[in-house]
């Protein structure tokens, strides 16, 4: 926990604390441990989807948190394997020391083990954000989003990253939209 608080202090000032917290906590301990959502049954990739099935219904256009019951049910929960977890933890320490290059290298190492894990892409995006590489942060967010389909918490995290990268570039309206999407998927 000491590590975490130091990590938060070391981040760029424009950052909201709980974004970092969510990302770091989720990455380190898995979703369930961060109190975000209860544990889900094992993931089912490429869910059977037919016309009219729940997962394909368009999302309601305007939603106040908490999300309405029509929200498609999450179908999977991404977690990090033990190896990735160790590397993410190492990356956080490196980022905390301001060594973003090494931190990114650690996440890349994890991505070679779990290339389809959106949590890792989001992690890498936050490192890019720290380096003020907002375009890559945005791209990492979108990559995470593409992989996170069906895991609302992971999708929400990716939208939050995208929102932050947009805000850093002064695109506040789009950032607000992205934040709203994040909020809809997993209210804080």
């Amino acid at each position: 926990m000491i590590t975490m608080s130091r990590l938060i202090r070391s981040r760029a000032p424009g950052w909201s604390r709980h974004v970092v917290w969510t990302s770091a906590c989720v990455a380190l301990f898995g979703l369930a441990a961060c109190g975000q959502i209860p544990p889900q049954p094992p993931s089912v990739p490429r869910p059977e989807v037919g016309p009219g099935s729940a997962a394909t219904q368009p999302r309601p256009p305007d939603v106040q948190p908490p999300p309405p019951p029509e929200q498609p049910r999450p179908t999977k929960t991404f977690r990090l394997g033990a190896a990735s977890l160790a590397l993410v933890s190492q990356a956080h320490k490196q980022a905390q020391d301001g060594d973003y290059g090494q931190a990114a290298a650690s996440i890349e190492r994890a991505l070679r083990i779990e290339p389809s894990n959106p949590l890792l892409w989001t992690e890498l995006g936050y490192i890019r954000l720290s380096e003020h590489n907002n375009d890559q942060a945005d791209a990492m967010g979108r990559k995470a989003l593409a992989l996170a389909t069906g895991d609302h918490q992971a999708e929400s995290n990716a939208w939050r990253l995208i929102a932050e990268s947009l805000r850093q570039r002064g695109r506040n309206q789009e950032a607000a939209d992205a934040d709203r999407k994040s909020e809809q998927l997993a209210p804080r």
């Binding site: 490429r46 033990a82 290339p115």
Partner: protein, 764 residues
């Protein structure tokens, strides 16, 4: 009186001659002394950049069997032992392997020597533990050194410090090359005379006439021509070196300097590199026999080359061992035991593997670095090469081309090919094969063979069509005769490969069966500009000629460019710049250049997903279906064949969840091969995919899409039980497809639905 005058004059002249001579020799000696001290003291060996493969990352769950792990250990020249000794050894007991890992330098950290226990399950690593028995989440083997980037004159070396040198080595060198090294002053007149005497009798030279110091001078300051004046100069410089430097310094310089082998343009200098070059392991790990082999090689690296002349080398090694025993450095028993050993050199020279990949690395680096920085500054270059994948790629190409050559009976021509393997999500290039002769550092087809793209272009046309929103995978397109008037006034009348006309077909079938006429119809409808832009978005840098024949792939690309394009399809419409190099590290361990992972979204994710699903049908139903005779039915792969006009080029490009593989097969002189993409490149692709650790392609379906089943011939919507010929496609949510007559009222029983669910699970 005349006599006296004569002698007087004589003595004066003689004294003058001697005086002037002494003065000349003296000033020459001073001049040489200047050279010796200046150069030797200020000398740093110019260090070529050393290039490393990707380290193997171990973690619980990694799908490697114990046999695989032992293969990896063997590649790194770890020695099996009964009891763990120094680094570089391992001990197996049942499902458990204890490894004494060597100290290692990675791109991001250095690691001291450490003990690792690997517990193997039946198909994967079960657990990793440290020496205290504690679980370790992950650990890397050290990266394999795969080569060096050395200067034009070709000196390559790995510098070693005295504590990395096994004590036997200097002892052996002294015993064999220079018995009086510890006491002489640079030259050993007795040894010179003895050598001369033996030379005259044409006997076997046990010891040469030159001291180690003289040999050092010769290698260091002089060219190898043997003339009397050079011998003299060598002797003077040797004495001067001895006057200025300690014996230990000189021995260390000798060990790092001396020439020990030739490998093409590359001259192997010093025992550090020679140890890697001949035995594939660090100098400190050599045993007695191996040390003796290297000492044997000193005498004549070409004459005693242990790979080309093993008998000569062995005889000389045995002599070295005998001399060592005679001088009391080792016991008679140890000498005999070592003499009984085989030479133990590796089959291929380490550091000269994979020239095609090194070529790729050099080209990447030459964009950023001056030649002399690369060849002299001691850089460490960390690459993405995966030796396991590279081996499989070389094997697949060699085996399949040999088979095709036999079957096609072209007596005078031999098929060539190229392979590129990448990891889709990170864009790492993990293997490159530039031709059949993998040891040949010449024409690199993977990078330089510009060949017609053929039907590999089609997925990009269909992707462009889907992105317009006017097409989906079930859209009926017309496969019908086409006539297009070209800019030069000529009429272009393309045909299908089969010469047939298929009429109305769904888009998915037009792609799966690579129908030319249907594709031209789609391409002309959406426009050549748009198709060209798609190729450029995906990373094609060369200009795309906007002519109708481009739709059939008359555009010329290299295999690596094809890999760049297909990597984007495999990565859901994200482009990664393909990466061969991960990082460049300076001699003192600083990262001077990193090539970070970058992704750029370049296409609508749902359109890419839908095209990828269509490419899955290429493998299930179309020109790639032969692959599933070899690959497990449960492995989901997507791909596309390509055949250029007159069968000059045979391509196959495709991907699983883990790898993108592009294969090109053809003749260098562009002769027709008689092979389609399915007949030539596909078998190579399939063999390679079968040899790699593959996971299914299973990108999540974007929420804007829905999976639906259609009747493959007609494109009409069906329930799965209703058509014999149903295929799954992904279409935008809300797409209304005509329902196949007779399928309207199909109600599926719970049993049927459960069956479908089960099939889906198995597919994964």
């Amino acid at each position: 009186m005349a006599r006296g005058r004569f002698w007087k004059t004589f003595f004066i002249i003689a004294a003058a001659v001697v005086g002037v001579g002494a003065l000349v020799i003296g000033s020459y000696a001073v001049y040489l002394d200047h050279i010796v001290t200046e150069q030797f003291e200020g000398r740093r060996w110019t260090l070529p950049a050393h290039v490393y493969a990707a380290p193997l990352e171990l973690y619980a769950g990694l799908p490697l069997t114990q046999a695989d792990i032992k293969h990896e250990l063997a590649r790194l020249q770890y020695r099996p032992v009964d009891k763990l000794e120094r680094p570089g050894t391992y001990h197996q007991q049942g499902s458990r392997i204890d490894v004494a890992l060597r100290p290692a330098a990675f791109a991001d950290e250095t690691r001291p020597a450490t003990i690792l226990t690997i517990e193997s399950g039946p198909a994967a690593i079960g657990a990793l533990r440290d020496s205290a028995g504690k679980d370790v989440p992950l650990m890397r083997f050290e990266p394999l050194m795969i080569g060096s980037i050395f200067p034009i004159h070709g000196e390559d070396r790995i510098v070693v410090t005295p504590n990395e040198v096994p004590p036997l080595l200097p002892a052996a060198l002294k015993a064999v090359e220079d018995r009086k090294f510890d006491t002489h002053h640079g030259v050993d007149p007795e040894a010179m005379l003895r050598a001369l005497w033996i030379d005259m009798r044409a006997g076997q030279i046990e010891q040469g006439g030159s001291t180690l110091t003289q040999q050092l001078v010769k290698s260091y300051f002089l060219d190898p021509r043997q003339t009397v004046s050079r011998k003299l100069r060598e002797a003077i410089m040797a004495m001067e070196l001895e006057a200025h430097f300690s014996k230990a310094d000189l021995m260390n310089a000798y060990i790092n300097e001396i020439f020990l082998g030739q490998d093409g343009d590359r001259a192997v200098h010093g025992f550090g590199l020679a140890s890697q070059f001949y035995f594939g392991k660090p100098l400190s790990e050599l045993d007695l026999s191996e040390v003796a082999v290297l000492v044997a090689v000193v005498r004549g690296p070409s004459y005693y080359d242990p790979r080309r002349h093993p008998q000569r080398a062995q005889a000389r090694r045995d002599l070295v061992l005998k001399l060592m025993a005679e001088r009391g450095i080792i016991s008679e028993k140890d000498a005999r035991a070592a003499q009984a050993k085989p030479l133990g050199v590796t089959l291929r020279a380490s550091g000269s593997y994979f020239p095609a990949y090194l070529d790729f690395v050099r080209r990447v680096l030459r964009r950023d670095y001056r030649e002399e920085d690369l060849t002299k500054a001691g850089l460490r270059i960390y690459t993405n090469l995966e030796p396991r994948a590279q081996e499989q790629a070389e094997l697949a190409l060699d085996k399949e081309l040999s088979r095709l050559d036999r079957n096609h009976k072209y007596p005078d021509a031999s098929l060539e090919g190229a392979v590129v393997v990448t990891t889709p999500q990170s864009g790492d290039v993990i293997a490159i094969v530039g031709g059949r002769n993998v040891a040949y550092d010449g024409f690199n087809r993977a990078l330089d063979a510009r060949r017609q793209f053929g039907s590999l272009v089609k997925p990009f046309i269909y992707l462009t069509a889907l992105e317009t929103g006017r097409y989906n995978a079930a859209t009926i397109v017309q496969d019908q005769p086409v006539q297009i008037r070209l800019a030069d006034g000529q009429m272009w009348k393309p045909e299908n490969f089969t010469k047939q006309i298929y009429g109305p077909v769904p888009l998915v079938r037009a792609l799966a069966e690579s129908m030319n006429l249907a594709t031209i119809g789609v391409g002309m409808d959406i426009g050549l500009d748009k198709v060209a832009q798609t190729l450029q978005r995906f990373g094609l840098e060369r200009p795309v000629p906007k002519v109708p024949s481009m739709l059939l792939g008359t555009l010329e690309v290299t295999p690596i460019e094809a890999a760049q394009l297909y990597n984007g399809l495999a990565n859901g419409g994200f482009r990664n710049p393909l990466r061969g190099v991960r990082a460049v590290i300076s001699e003192d361990g600083k990262t001077i250049k990193a090539f970070p992972l970058e992704v750029t979204p370049v296409a609508a994710p749902d359109a890419v997903y839908a095209v990828d699903r269509m490419m899955e049908q290429v493998m299930e139903r179309g020109t790639g279906r032969a692959a599933h005779a070899v690959l497990p039915a449960s492995l989901v792969v997507a791909g596309k064949s390509g055949t250029s006009s007159d069968l000059r080029d045979s391509w196959f490009a495709g991907f699983s969840g883990s790898h993108v593989v592009v294969v090109w097969v053809g003749y260098d002189d562009d002769l027709p091969t008689g092979l389609t993409g399915s007949a030539g490149a596909l078998p190579v692709w399939t063999r390679l995919m079968g040899g790699l650790e593959e996971t299914s392609w299973d990108a999540p379906m974007p929420e804007t899409l829905a999976e639906t089943w259609i009747d493959y011939p007609s494109g009409m919507r069906v329930e799965r039980g209703c058509s014999e010929d149903a295929v799954p496609i992904a279409v935008p949510v809300g797409t209304e497809l005509p329902i196949k007559p007779g399928c309207e009222q199909q109600q599926k029983s719970i049993v049927e639905r459960a069956g479908e669910w089960l099939r889906d699970m198995i597919r994964r």
